[in-house]
């Protein structure tokens, strides 16, 4: 569970944010912290992180009345930090209604007092504040750096029974530059039993995702909320991963186009390839029957069955699918979806029938198109082609995509014939237009050449998935490389922690 804890930092009774803890960088967001707290509560939050920046700097409680009013007038569970330095202070803060108290400077300067609190109030109520700059703990509202080195500091208190820590990377705090995921990973590895609350730098939903992947369960959000970088919710809104889909051309039950994998016994065996791609982290597979005659349907059905027995990731079968019987033969043998192309253009009603009988979610409308007016705008003049691109029609790409979805297609697989095989990138302007127009997922196809192209088609092309054949088959780029790149580019993808993934040489 990734819990997002909103933060209110107070200076002079007002709700502010600093950048990197610099008191000269004060940005005031609201003159009434109580109103802000109520807003958080109304948005569904149950926790609140309150920092009295005046108190942190001056070493004495300053804005205690503000804390009291928040605790009195909301049901938020509040943790408080700032300037708590003796037994009287902590009594005052708890009496004001804080459920948890964070000690930072005090834990550096007077461990005996801090450990006394830990013993009296327990590790659920006493949080260790580990605010880090250059690997050392910063104190006094981050105005000074101490001699305490982070890991030694954590080890000392972990041994003494501390459970919760708030770790802020000062260099990132208030910068919206992304959280210190690598640092947190190191802390989690070394102290797996600590509940680490990440703090500082949060700027996007994909940051939340990266923290989740690092094993972090709570994160504090200040500026990201105040500047509308992430939606005001106690959890992320959408964590669906973009999909990477290798496509395999099949003829007479064998994969054609040389597939260049090290160590494959039989590069033409669809089952072995499916297994290989699945292990590598493919999110889905597409099998395209390029013979696609009625007589070959039985061969394809057998292939589908063998693939379904070997891998348990979703896969789509296309090529020559034209009737309800065709669809049934594929699905009954274990395919998850079918893609329909030429047959749907010739008889659009078949989309309705297929969707009605089998459900939209398993009907992919594959569209091959080419832009005829090369001088005109990128997103105009696209004509649909049939029979693997051999036969031109007068049908407009966008009208056909819209109609297909209205008739019940659950996904669009768009291949730009102009881009296919060029390795110069996907047809992103065109894809974006389709994606904005229809409310079903869109798969980008044609043009993949570099890892960057995948990021571009997800960002600029607004694609939900990207399909490629050659670059994966010939081993130019591995699926893992694509995913690594996308993850670094803050695009949400499924990482792949399975033991089977490491076989590649």
């Amino acid at each position: 569970m990734i819990e997002i804890i909103p933060a209110i930092d107070i200076i002079n009774g007002k709700c502010v944010r600093l950048t990197r803890g610099d008191y000269n960088s004060v940005k005031e967001y609201n003159s009434d912290p109580l109103l802000v707290a109520k807003e958080f509560e109304a948005a569904g939050f149950t926790r609140l992180h309150v920092v009295d920046l005046d108190a942190a700097k001056q070493g004495k409680l300053v804005n205690i009345d503000t804390l009291r009013s928040i605790c009195d007038e909301t049901n938020l569970v509040v943790d408080y930090g700032g300037g708590v330095k003796n037994d009287d202070d902590i009594a005052t803060v708890l009496e004001a209604g804080a459920q948890m108290v964070t000690g930072g400077s005090i834990a550096v300067r007077d461990p005996a007092i801090f450990l006394g609190w830990l013993e009296r109030f327990g590790p659920d109520r006493i949080i260790l504040g580990a605010d880090v700059k250059d690997g050392h703990i910063a104190v006094s509202g981050w105005q000074e750096n101490s001699h305490s080195e982070l890991f030694g500091f954590l080890e000392f208190y972990a041994d003494k029974g501390i459970k919760k820590i708030i770790c802020t990377d000062i260099e990132r705090d208030g910068t919206l530059e992304g959280p210190a995921v690598e640092l947190y990973k190191k802390i989690m590895e070394r102290f797996p039993s600590l509940q680490l609350i990440a703090s500082g730098g949060l700027s996007s939903v994909s940051d939340l995702h990266r923290l989740y992947e690092a094993g972090i369960t709570s994160v504090i959000s200040g500026k990201a909320f105040y500047e509308n970088k992430i939606p005001l919710k106690p959890y992320p809104l959408n964590t669906l991963a973009k999909r990477i889909i290798p496509c395999l051309d099949v003829k007479d039950g064998r994969v054609v186009k040389g597939v260049n994998f090290v160590g494959l016994r039989d590069a033409g065996d669809p089952v072995e390839l499916a297994q290989r791609y699945s292990d590598e982290g493919a999110d889905e597979l597409v099998f395209l029957d390029i013979t696609a005659t009625h007589e070959k349907r039985k061969t394809m059905a057998e292939l589908v069955r063998k693939v379904a027995e070997a891998v348990n990731i979703p896969f789509t079968v296309g090529g020559g699918i034209g009737s309800l019987e065709d669809v049934n033969a594929m699905l009954a043998n274990g395919a998850d979806k079918v893609s329909v192309n030429s047959a749907a253009v010739r008889n659009p009603e078949i989309i309705n029938e297929m969707a009605e009988k089998f459900g939209s979610q398993c009907i992919v409308l594959a569209i091959d198109a080419r832009r005829e007016d090369k001088d005109g705008p990128q997103d105009e003049g696209w004509k649909v082609y049939l029979n693997g691109g051999r036969q031109r029609t007068d049908i407009d790409l966008f009208e056909w995509a819209r109609e297909g979805v209205e008739r019940g297609a659950g996904e669009i697989l768009f291949t730009s014939m102009d881009h296919d095989g060029t390795r110069n990138g996907f047809a992103n302007e065109t894809l974006a237009k389709i994606s904005n127009m229809v409310d079903v997922p869109v798969i980008a196809s044609g043009g993949a050449g570099t890892v960057q192209h995948f990021a571009d088609t997800f960002r600029d092309g607004k694609a939900d998935a990207a399909l490629a054949a050659g670059i994966f088959h010939y081993g130019d780029i591995s699926i893992n490389q694509v995913k690594q790149y996308l993850q670094n580019a803050n695009i949400i993808i499924r990482t792949h922690p399975t033991p089977g993934g490491g076989k590649k040489k």
Binding site: M1, I2, H209, Y212, E213, G215, K233, Y235, P236, L237, N238, T239, L240, A241, K242, R243, S278, D283, A308, E309, N312, I313, P314, L331, A332, N333, G334, D336, F358, G359, S360, Q361, C362, G410, E411, D439, V440, P441, V442, D464, A465, R494, T495, P497, T498, P499, G500
Partner: protein, 197 residues
């Protein structure tokens, strides 16, 4: 171990059966009351439309059978949704084993998401015995247009246009919105957990 996959004409049972076989079991596909009642585990799958599914369930008398089962039952995708009281999909009355109803992703006018919710998404909790021993981060494969909001039976959430129930449990009734049989090794682990409950 006797495993029955309830066969009520709701599409593709191949993958679920195959996943059980992979775990060394020979599941039976059946809509027969006696067979279902006498199995150690019951899997209640489903793809497609809630209205059609409930019609098929009623015509086989299964609406009187499933709620009375006492062995572990696992509803998958639509099968999980049908465990609740009703679905927005065709305003269908469902099995009412769990309180609550099934909503549509498209109902929210502010929804800026593609429908169906299709692909790999996280589950945010693996504490339930059903979800144990899955390496984090846990991604599962989802395909659905309707969802169960977060509720008191939720054992894991996922996030798409907000938070929704990725998995639920009430007593012996378990449900997952995602397809464990299509979710790679992590999904197989969930089926294994279910069979070992």
């Amino acid at each position: 171990m006797k495993i029955t996959i309830i066969d009520y004409g709701a599409g593709n049972l191949f993958s679920v059966a195959n996943a059980c076989r992979r775990l060394g079991h020979q599941p039976v596909l059946s809509s027969d009351e006696h067979t279902i009642k006498n199995s150690d585990r019951v899997i209640f799958p489903g793809v497609g439309n809630a209205v059609t599914a409930m019609r098929n369930i009623r015509s086989r008398g299964l609406h009187n059978v499933i709620p009375k089962l006492t062995q572990p039952v696992l509803g998958i995708c639509l099968g999980m949704q049908l465990l609740f009281e009703k679905s927005d999909e065709g305003e269908t009355s469902c099995l009412a084993i769990l309180d609550g109803s099934v909503s549509s992703f498209s109902k929210d006018p502010a929804a800026n998401v593609k429908i169906p919710h299709m692909g790999w998404n996280i589950i945010d909790n693996t504490e339930s015995p059903l979800l144990a021993a899955i390496p984090a981060p846990a991604y599962m494969y989802f395909v659905h247009s309707y969802y169960v909001p977060h509720n008191s039976y939720t054992i894991a959430n996922s996030y798409y246009n907000g938070r929704f129930s990725a998995a639920v449990q009430k007593d012996n009734f378990y449900g997952c919105q995602f397809h464990p049989e299509k979710s790679g090794p992590a999904g197989i682990q969930i089926l294994k957990n279910f069979l070992e409950l």
